[in-house]
């Protein structure tokens, strides 16, 4: 891992043991750093707009992903049904990890298992690599049939943490799904099981009907909604989890501006992630970071950690 030379942004954040230059990350699966370098050249590496890079989710076996069509645009949003295409653990370690290790920021690798044993294998193998700063446990992808189970049940979450917590001392970030009746018990189970941080939200389960056939448009029948359409929901869930746990949170869901990012911080998040907005503008995260600095200053909200801390105190008092 090559870290950028220290240069104060005034936005530094300590997050789950990682020292980050600012609080803006990417949502897993919304940025392929290798494809971006093929498209934009070295600038996509040197000017990477994220303070840490979160990989696309890795599974144990290679996956081709869902049959197309995989996308549907909604009012102010996007339904995707991608199906976790990836090279599998071995392919990732051999081909992608060496390239991702060349990024100038800490690397967070997202993993998803279809059983506790698979999660264990993935966590152990990925965490053993010195290039990896932290892991994100994807327990919430609504696109893959059995992938949503762990993140929707408190007991499953507790069992997962029992399985993986002892395998590494590296930070474990649990990515929560919004597709539950109450997200808080799952978040608490993650905290009690030794998670270092939480990230939310993953996409909201969604579908679209083909105007021509009247059948589901997406090849896999349904997918997950992201973009500004989900922002208010994401904000509410972030505040709810922030009130019920002490864990640091990466808040995400439709963030387009610094103002949106500050909203998430004032709902208790320590970091934010940009996802769908990067599709519209590859440089969106850099703009969000700039605007966040301006917003914090204009509102006298202090540094990001100060703003988060104030928000968490308020939420815990309420």
């Amino acid at each position: 891992m090559t870290l950028a030379p220290p240069r104060s942004t005034g936005l530094e954040v300590d997050f789950a043991g990682l020292r980050l230059a600012h609080p803006v990350l990417n949502g897993s699966g919304t940025w392929d750093a290798i494809a971006a370098i093929r498209t934009f050249g070295a600038a996509a590496r040197e000017e990477l707009p994220f303070a840490a890079f979160v990989s696309k989710t890795i599974t144990l076996a290679p996956r081709g992903g869902n049959p197309p069509p995989r996308l549907w645009e909604t009012p102010a949003g996007l339904i995707n049904s991608i199906g976790l295409p990836n090279k599998g653990l071995e392919g990732f370690l051999a081909h992608d990890l060496p390239e991702l290790a060349g990024l100038p920021v800490p690397l967070i690798v997202s993993v998803a298992g279809f059983s506790l044993e698979e999660f264990g294998t993935l966590v152990e193998a990925v965490a053993a690599r010195p290039e990896v700063a932290a892991l994100e446990l994807n327990v919430s992808c609504p696109n893959v049939k059995s992938g949503c189970v762990i993140g929707s049940e408190r007991e499953e979450m507790a069992a997962l943490m029992r399985c993986v917590r002892g395998l590494t001392s590296k930070p474990l970030i649990v990515k929560l799904t919004p597709n539950v009746s109450d997200v808080a018990p799952v978040a608490v189970a993650a905290e009690e099981g030794g998670a270092d941080a939480l990230s939310l939200i993953n996409t909201l389960r969604a579908t679209a009907i083909s105007p021509r056939s009247g059948e589901p448009w997406l090849g896999a029948g349904q997918g997950g909604l992201s973009g500004p359409a989900v922002r208010a929901v994401a904000l509410a869930l972030t505040a709810q989890v922030a009130a019920r746990t002490r864990l640091p949170i990466v808040g995400m869901g439709g963030i387009q501006t610094g103002r949106d990012a500050l909203d998430f911080i004032q709902a208790g998040a320590s970091c934010v992630a940009v996802g769908t907005e990067s599709f519209r503008d590859p440089g969106a995260a850099a703009r969000v970071r700039r605007e966040l600095g301006q917003e914090l200053h204009a509102r006298g909200a202090g540094s990001p950690p100060q703003a988060t801390s104030l928000a968490r105190e308020r939420l815990h008092r309420a």
């Binding site: 494809a35 498209t39 995707n80």
Partner: protein
């Protein structure tokens, strides 16, 4: 050419590419010319690099993008139709909220642009003839390709298919000789552009095609039957254009490939029946 990868993953670079500046940039619309039912929108992009034929851009109007009803939200992908002296031209057909909004842009308006993206057409083998086969709005990338081949003195023949005479006005974008077929026979030959292809295809030719999927499948079959190489510029719904969303995949012999980074130009031999 050996490609051995798991499905859905990046193949080794399959064609030429001009890198895009990182991020999106605001460009001034300088012309919008009506060509039959199409709009030929020109933007000034003096700071951007010259694209290769077959590459594309993500476009969005700077204002009133995502107005009534919250759509369009994402940018829209368009092959570049012509690129000269820092000016890019895109051929648009209004088929939804994005293309309608872009088609209504007027000189003086601003557009967001990301690109050039994807890989372009590879040169035909030395001494061979390029057969350009376009259908409808799919003629767009063949205009810049015909210009590039002509500028380098490479022999080319252009075959175009349209629904009817108004659509066939787009044939005038080509400077060289073209043969035109229309579905209703209102101009040119009545029939399909692939009928023209069957007749004109000769040994040593290489086919470059863009058009609706059934047309491209017919072109693929003809290329396979006549053992002629073909390069097809494909289209798919895209959210990002730079490999981030994994949404624009097409099924190839090597598994799913993202058209935005491993295309949009794909070797006909890499596709199998049923790809479309």
């Amino acid at each position: 050419m050996s490609v051995e990868l798991e499905p859905g993953l990046s193949a080794p670079e399959q064609g030429p590419r001009t890198l895009a500046p990182f991020g999106r940039r605001l460009c001034r619309v300088v012309a919008n010319e009506r060509i039959g039912p199409y709009d030929l929108v020109a933007v000034e992009d003096e700071s951007g690099p010259a694209p290769l034929a077959g590459q594309f851009y993500m476009l969005a109007a700077a204002r009133a993008w995502g107005g009534d009803g919250g759509r369009p939200h994402l940018g829209r992908a368009f092959s570049v139709c012509r690129a000269r002296d820092g000016r890019l031209e895109f051929l648009l057909e209004a088929i939804g909220p994005g293309t309608e909004r872009l088609g209504h842009m007027a000189p003086g308006d601003d557009a967001w642009l990301v690109g050039p993206l994807g890989i372009g057409f590879r040169d035909p083998a030395p001494g061979g003839r390029a057969l350009l086969v376009g259908g409808g709005i799919g003629v767009a990338p063949l205009v810049i390709w015909a210009d590039a081949l002509q500028a380098r003195g490479m022999p080319a023949l252009t075959l175009l298919g349209f629904r009817s005479a108004p659509y066939a006005e787009a044939a005038r974008l080509f400077e060289g000789e073209t043969a035109v077929a229309t579905d209703d026979g209102s101009t040119g030959r009545q029939g399909l552009v692939t009928d023209l292809l069957e007749e004109r295809l000769a040994p040593g030719d290489e086919v470059f095609a863009c058009g609706p999927p059934p047309m491209l499948e017919a072109v693929r079959r003809i290329c396979a039957a006549r053992a002629v190489p073909g390069q097809l510029a494909l289209e798919a719904g895209m959210a990002c254009g730079f490999g981030a969303c994994f949404g624009c995949v097409v099924r190839t012999r090597h598994g799913y490939r993202r058209l935005c980074v491993d295309g949009p130009v794909v070797a006909a031999a890499d596709l199998e029946e049923g790809w479309e």
